[in-house]
Protein backbone atom coordinates (compact mmCIF):
# COMPACT_ATOMS: atom_id res chain seq x y z
CA UNK A 1 0.00 0.00 0.00
CA UNK A 2 2.78 2.39 0.84
CA UNK A 3 4.95 3.62 -1.99
CA UNK A 4 7.01 6.24 -0.23
CA UNK A 5 10.18 4.33 -0.82
CA UNK A 6 9.77 4.53 -4.59
CA UNK A 7 12.42 6.35 -6.55
CA UNK A 8 11.70 10.05 -7.28
CA UNK A 9 11.43 9.49 -11.06
CA UNK A 10 8.93 6.70 -10.50
CA UNK A 11 6.98 9.00 -8.19
CA UNK A 12 6.87 11.68 -10.85
CA UNK A 13 5.59 9.22 -13.46
CA UNK A 14 2.95 8.12 -10.97
CA UNK A 15 1.79 11.73 -10.50
CA UNK A 16 1.54 12.12 -14.29
CA UNK A 17 -0.46 8.93 -14.72
CA UNK A 18 -2.82 9.76 -11.85
CA UNK A 19 -4.69 12.26 -14.03
CA UNK A 20 -5.84 9.55 -16.45
CA UNK A 21 -6.51 7.11 -13.61
CA UNK A 22 -8.85 9.66 -12.00
CA UNK A 23 -10.65 10.40 -15.28
CA UNK A 24 -11.14 6.69 -16.04
CA UNK A 25 -12.43 6.00 -12.53
CA UNK A 26 -14.87 8.91 -12.72
CA UNK A 27 -16.26 7.52 -15.98
CA UNK A 28 -16.52 4.08 -14.40
CA UNK A 29 -18.39 5.54 -11.40
CA UNK A 30 -20.84 7.29 -13.74
CA UNK A 31 -21.45 4.01 -15.60
CA UNK A 32 -22.02 2.13 -12.33
CA UNK A 33 -24.53 4.81 -11.25
CA UNK A 34 -26.36 4.25 -14.54
CA UNK A 35 -26.34 0.50 -13.92
CA UNK A 36 -27.82 1.04 -10.45
CA UNK A 37 -30.61 3.08 -11.98
CA UNK A 38 -31.38 0.35 -14.51
CA UNK A 39 -31.18 -2.37 -11.86
CA UNK A 40 -34.15 -1.08 -9.83
CA UNK A 41 -36.45 -1.53 -12.84
CA UNK A 42 -35.37 -5.11 -13.64
CA UNK A 43 -38.03 -7.79 -13.05
CA UNK A 44 -36.02 -9.93 -10.64
CA UNK A 45 -36.59 -11.00 -7.08
CA UNK A 46 -36.13 -8.32 -4.46
CA UNK A 47 -33.20 -9.97 -2.69
CA UNK A 48 -31.28 -10.29 -5.97
CA UNK A 49 -31.79 -6.62 -6.80
CA UNK A 50 -30.88 -5.67 -3.23
CA UNK A 51 -27.65 -7.69 -3.42
CA UNK A 52 -26.72 -6.18 -6.79
CA UNK A 53 -27.30 -2.64 -5.47
CA UNK A 54 -25.21 -3.30 -2.36
CA UNK A 55 -22.35 -4.72 -4.44
CA UNK A 56 -22.45 -1.83 -6.94
CA UNK A 57 -22.48 0.86 -4.26
CA UNK A 58 -19.67 -0.93 -2.39
CA UNK A 59 -17.58 -0.96 -5.58
CA UNK A 60 -18.18 2.81 -6.02
CA UNK A 61 -17.35 3.41 -2.37
CA UNK A 62 -14.08 1.46 -2.60
CA UNK A 63 -12.97 3.17 -5.82
CA UNK A 64 -13.48 6.60 -4.26
CA UNK A 65 -11.66 5.86 -1.00
CA UNK A 66 -8.74 3.95 -2.55
CA UNK A 67 -8.14 6.17 -5.58
CA UNK A 68 -9.67 9.63 -5.11
CA UNK A 69 -8.80 9.65 -1.41
CA UNK A 70 -5.32 8.20 -2.15
CA UNK A 71 -5.55 5.27 0.27
CA UNK A 72 -3.96 3.09 -2.40
CA UNK A 73 -0.80 5.20 -2.29
CA UNK A 74 -0.84 6.23 1.38
CA UNK A 75 0.50 4.31 4.34
CA UNK A 76 -1.63 1.44 5.64
CA UNK A 77 -2.21 3.35 8.90
CA UNK A 78 -4.71 5.68 7.15
CA UNK A 79 -6.66 2.70 5.80
CA UNK A 80 -6.74 1.04 9.22
CA UNK A 81 -7.81 4.26 10.94
CA UNK A 82 -10.69 4.83 8.53
CA UNK A 83 -11.80 1.21 8.52
CA UNK A 84 -12.02 1.23 12.33
CA UNK A 85 -14.68 3.93 12.04
CA UNK A 86 -16.30 2.17 9.09
CA UNK A 87 -16.52 -1.20 10.85
CA UNK A 88 -17.89 0.43 14.02
CA UNK A 89 -20.48 2.30 11.93
CA UNK A 90 -21.48 -0.87 10.05
CA UNK A 91 -21.73 -2.79 13.33
CA UNK A 92 -23.89 -0.06 14.87
CA UNK A 93 -26.14 -0.05 11.80
CA UNK A 94 -26.58 -3.83 11.83
CA UNK A 95 -27.28 -3.84 15.57
CA UNK A 96 -29.87 -1.05 15.28
CA UNK A 97 -31.58 -2.69 12.31
CA UNK A 98 -31.70 -6.05 14.15
CA UNK A 99 -33.02 -4.47 17.34
CA UNK A 100 -35.61 -2.14 15.86
CA UNK A 101 -36.17 -3.42 12.34
CA UNK A 102 -39.33 -5.37 13.20
CA UNK A 103 -42.53 -4.39 15.00
CA UNK A 104 -40.61 -2.72 17.80
CA UNK A 105 -40.36 0.49 15.78
CA UNK A 106 -44.08 0.67 14.98
CA UNK A 107 -45.59 3.81 16.58
CA UNK A 108 -47.86 2.95 19.50
CA UNK A 109 -51.47 3.95 18.88
CA UNK A 110 -51.93 4.80 22.56
CA UNK A 111 -48.96 7.13 22.51
CA UNK A 112 -50.07 8.92 19.36
CA UNK A 113 -51.75 12.35 19.54
CA UNK A 114 -55.60 12.17 19.51
CA UNK A 115 -55.89 13.42 15.93
CA UNK A 116 -53.41 10.88 14.64
CA UNK A 117 -55.03 8.06 16.66
CA UNK A 118 -58.42 8.95 15.19
CA UNK A 119 -57.02 8.85 11.66
CA UNK A 120 -55.37 5.52 12.39
CA UNK A 121 -58.68 4.09 13.58
Amino acid sequence: MSTHAAAPSQGHELEQSKFWIFVQIAMLLAVITGLELVTVYLPFMRWILFSVLVVLSTVKFMFVIFYFMHLRWDRAFCTILFFIGLVLAAGTMIALLKLFGADASKPLAAAAPPAMAARAA
Binding site: L29, L37, F50, L81
Partner: protein, 206 residues
Amino acid sequence: MSSDAATATIDHHFDPTTSTGIPNKKVLMWAFLASDCMFFGCLISTHLIYRLHPPPGTPPARQVFSIELTSFSTFILLMSSLMMALAVNAIQKGNLKSMRWSLLTTIFFGCIFLGCQVYEFRNFVYEKHLTITNSILGTTFFTLTGTHGLHVLVGVIWLSGMLLYSFTGRLTEKEAIDVESMGLYWHFVDIVWIVIFTAVYLLEYI
Protein backbone atom coordinates in the same frame (compact mmCIF):
# COMPACT_ATOMS: atom_id res chain seq x y z
CA MET B 1 6.36 27.75 -8.05
CA SER B 2 7.55 25.18 -10.18
CA SER B 3 7.87 22.33 -10.45
CA ASP B 4 9.32 19.32 -12.05
CA ALA B 5 12.45 19.41 -9.95
CA ALA B 6 10.47 20.12 -6.82
CA THR B 7 8.03 17.34 -7.58
CA ALA B 8 10.84 14.89 -7.64
CA THR B 9 11.92 15.88 -4.14
CA ILE B 10 8.57 16.14 -2.34
CA ASP B 11 6.84 12.88 -1.45
CA HIS B 12 3.26 13.81 -0.63
CA HIS B 13 2.52 10.42 0.92
CA PHE B 14 5.33 10.45 3.45
CA ASP B 15 6.39 12.93 6.13
CA PRO B 16 9.66 12.01 7.87
CA THR B 17 9.08 14.59 10.63
CA THR B 18 6.15 12.72 12.23
CA SER B 19 6.27 9.48 14.20
CA THR B 20 3.74 7.82 11.88
CA GLY B 21 5.40 8.98 8.67
CA ILE B 22 2.08 10.61 7.72
CA PRO B 23 1.41 14.36 7.87
CA ASN B 24 -0.46 15.12 11.11
CA LYS B 25 -3.17 17.06 9.28
CA LYS B 26 -3.94 13.98 7.22
CA VAL B 27 -4.15 11.73 10.30
CA LEU B 28 -6.45 14.27 11.95
CA MET B 29 -8.73 14.35 8.90
CA TRP B 30 -8.89 10.55 8.63
CA ALA B 31 -9.73 10.29 12.36
CA PHE B 32 -12.50 12.87 11.93
CA LEU B 33 -13.89 11.06 8.89
CA ALA B 34 -13.87 7.75 10.79
CA SER B 35 -15.95 9.36 13.54
CA ASP B 36 -18.26 10.96 10.96
CA CYS B 37 -18.87 7.46 9.52
CA MET B 38 -20.47 6.49 12.83
CA PHE B 39 -22.55 9.68 12.86
CA PHE B 40 -23.98 9.03 9.40
CA GLY B 41 -24.30 5.31 10.13
CA CYS B 42 -26.71 6.11 12.96
CA LEU B 43 -28.71 8.57 10.83
CA ILE B 44 -29.01 6.13 7.92
CA SER B 45 -30.05 3.20 10.12
CA THR B 46 -32.61 5.40 11.91
CA HIS B 47 -34.13 6.28 8.55
CA LEU B 48 -34.13 2.63 7.44
CA ILE B 49 -35.93 1.62 10.63
CA TYR B 50 -38.62 4.28 10.62
CA ARG B 51 -39.33 4.23 6.89
CA LEU B 52 -40.84 0.78 7.47
CA HIS B 53 -43.65 2.17 9.60
CA PRO B 54 -44.90 5.46 8.24
CA PRO B 55 -47.86 6.86 10.14
CA PRO B 56 -51.28 6.82 8.47
CA GLY B 57 -51.74 9.38 5.74
CA THR B 58 -48.08 9.55 4.81
CA PRO B 59 -47.56 9.00 1.08
CA PRO B 60 -45.29 6.07 0.13
CA ALA B 61 -41.71 7.23 -0.30
CA ARG B 62 -41.71 5.94 -3.88
CA GLN B 63 -44.43 8.43 -4.82
CA VAL B 64 -42.56 11.24 -3.13
CA PHE B 65 -39.04 10.73 -4.48
CA SER B 66 -37.83 11.83 -7.90
CA ILE B 67 -35.24 9.29 -9.00
CA GLU B 68 -34.27 11.34 -12.06
CA LEU B 69 -33.34 14.38 -9.99
CA THR B 70 -31.46 12.30 -7.42
CA SER B 71 -29.51 10.45 -10.12
CA PHE B 72 -28.52 13.78 -11.64
CA SER B 73 -27.37 15.00 -8.21
CA THR B 74 -25.34 11.81 -7.76
CA PHE B 75 -23.67 12.27 -11.15
CA ILE B 76 -22.85 15.89 -10.32
CA LEU B 77 -21.30 14.95 -6.97
CA LEU B 78 -19.21 12.20 -8.58
CA MET B 79 -17.89 14.67 -11.16
CA SER B 80 -17.13 17.16 -8.39
CA SER B 81 -15.06 14.43 -6.74
CA LEU B 82 -13.12 14.00 -9.98
CA MET B 83 -12.40 17.73 -10.13
CA MET B 84 -11.34 17.71 -6.47
CA ALA B 85 -8.92 14.83 -7.14
CA LEU B 86 -7.51 16.76 -10.09
CA ALA B 87 -7.13 19.88 -7.91
CA VAL B 88 -5.07 17.90 -5.37
CA ASN B 89 -3.03 16.38 -8.20
CA ALA B 90 -2.39 19.86 -9.64
CA ILE B 91 -1.19 21.45 -6.39
CA GLN B 92 1.04 18.45 -5.70
CA LYS B 93 2.73 19.23 -9.03
CA GLY B 94 2.90 22.93 -8.20
CA ASN B 95 0.41 23.85 -10.93
CA LEU B 96 -1.52 26.60 -9.16
CA LYS B 97 -3.51 27.73 -12.19
CA SER B 98 -4.83 24.25 -12.90
CA MET B 99 -5.67 23.81 -9.22
CA ARG B 100 -7.72 27.03 -9.21
CA TRP B 101 -9.78 25.95 -12.24
CA SER B 102 -10.36 22.52 -10.72
CA LEU B 103 -11.42 24.06 -7.39
CA LEU B 104 -13.73 26.49 -9.16
CA THR B 105 -15.40 23.64 -11.05
CA THR B 106 -15.74 21.65 -7.83
CA ILE B 107 -17.42 24.64 -6.16
CA PHE B 108 -19.72 25.02 -9.17
CA PHE B 109 -20.74 21.33 -9.02
CA GLY B 110 -21.22 21.59 -5.24
CA CYS B 111 -23.55 24.56 -5.73
CA ILE B 112 -25.54 22.65 -8.36
CA PHE B 113 -25.92 19.75 -5.91
CA LEU B 114 -27.12 22.13 -3.18
CA GLY B 115 -29.52 23.77 -5.64
CA CYS B 116 -30.99 20.36 -6.53
CA GLN B 117 -31.40 19.57 -2.84
CA VAL B 118 -33.17 22.87 -2.13
CA TYR B 119 -35.46 22.24 -5.11
CA GLU B 120 -36.15 18.70 -3.87
CA PHE B 121 -36.92 19.88 -0.33
CA ARG B 122 -39.26 22.62 -1.59
CA ASN B 123 -41.01 20.09 -3.83
CA PHE B 124 -41.47 17.67 -0.93
CA VAL B 125 -42.82 20.33 1.44
CA TYR B 126 -45.11 22.29 -0.91
CA GLU B 127 -46.13 19.67 -3.50
CA LYS B 128 -45.93 16.34 -1.66
CA HIS B 129 -46.76 17.71 1.81
CA LEU B 130 -43.92 15.83 3.46
CA THR B 131 -42.37 18.00 6.19
CA ILE B 132 -39.87 17.39 8.95
CA THR B 133 -42.65 17.39 11.56
CA ASN B 134 -45.67 15.69 9.98
CA SER B 135 -44.29 12.15 9.86
CA ILE B 136 -41.46 10.03 11.13
CA LEU B 137 -40.42 9.36 7.54
CA GLY B 138 -40.15 13.13 6.99
CA THR B 139 -38.19 13.59 10.21
CA THR B 140 -35.61 10.93 9.45
CA PHE B 141 -35.38 11.81 5.75
CA PHE B 142 -34.89 15.56 6.23
CA THR B 143 -32.50 15.04 9.15
CA LEU B 144 -30.32 12.64 7.16
CA THR B 145 -30.25 14.42 3.81
CA GLY B 146 -30.21 17.84 5.50
CA THR B 147 -27.15 16.88 7.56
CA HIS B 148 -25.45 15.68 4.39
CA GLY B 149 -26.43 18.91 2.63
CA LEU B 150 -24.93 20.85 5.53
CA HIS B 151 -21.69 18.93 5.04
CA VAL B 152 -21.74 19.86 1.35
CA LEU B 153 -22.33 23.52 2.26
CA VAL B 154 -19.38 23.47 4.69
CA GLY B 155 -17.31 21.89 1.91
CA VAL B 156 -18.29 24.59 -0.59
CA ILE B 157 -17.38 27.32 1.91
CA TRP B 158 -14.06 25.61 2.65
CA LEU B 159 -13.30 25.24 -1.08
CA SER B 160 -14.16 28.89 -1.70
CA GLY B 161 -11.89 29.96 1.16
CA MET B 162 -9.05 27.86 -0.24
CA LEU B 163 -9.57 29.29 -3.72
CA LEU B 164 -9.35 32.86 -2.36
CA TYR B 165 -6.34 31.90 -0.23
CA SER B 166 -4.53 30.65 -3.33
CA PHE B 167 -4.50 34.22 -4.67
CA THR B 168 -2.50 35.46 -1.67
CA GLY B 169 0.57 33.65 -2.97
CA ARG B 170 1.02 31.69 0.24
CA LEU B 171 -0.34 28.43 -1.15
CA THR B 172 2.48 26.46 -2.73
CA GLU B 173 3.35 22.87 -3.44
CA LYS B 174 4.71 22.55 0.10
CA GLU B 175 1.23 23.32 1.49
CA ALA B 176 -0.43 20.71 -0.73
CA ILE B 177 -1.48 18.84 2.40
CA ASP B 178 -4.00 21.61 3.16
CA VAL B 179 -5.70 21.04 -0.19
CA GLU B 180 -5.42 17.27 0.21
CA SER B 181 -7.11 17.36 3.65
CA MET B 182 -9.92 19.45 2.19
CA GLY B 183 -10.12 16.94 -0.67
CA LEU B 184 -10.48 14.06 1.79
CA TYR B 185 -13.44 15.84 3.37
CA TRP B 186 -15.05 16.48 -0.02
CA HIS B 187 -14.62 12.86 -1.15
CA PHE B 188 -16.11 11.72 2.15
CA VAL B 189 -19.22 13.79 1.42
CA ASP B 190 -19.34 11.96 -1.91
CA ILE B 191 -19.07 8.46 -0.42
CA VAL B 192 -21.77 9.26 2.13
CA TRP B 193 -24.03 10.27 -0.75
CA ILE B 194 -23.19 6.99 -2.55
CA VAL B 195 -24.60 5.14 0.48
CA ILE B 196 -27.59 7.49 0.89
CA PHE B 197 -28.46 7.20 -2.82
CA THR B 198 -28.70 3.42 -2.50
CA ALA B 199 -30.10 3.06 1.03
CA VAL B 200 -32.62 5.90 0.99
CA TYR B 201 -33.64 6.34 -2.65
CA LEU B 202 -32.98 3.22 -4.75
CA LEU B 203 -34.21 0.75 -2.12
CA GLU B 204 -37.67 2.31 -2.33
CA TYR B 205 -37.92 1.27 -5.97
CA ILE B 206 -37.25 -2.46 -5.60
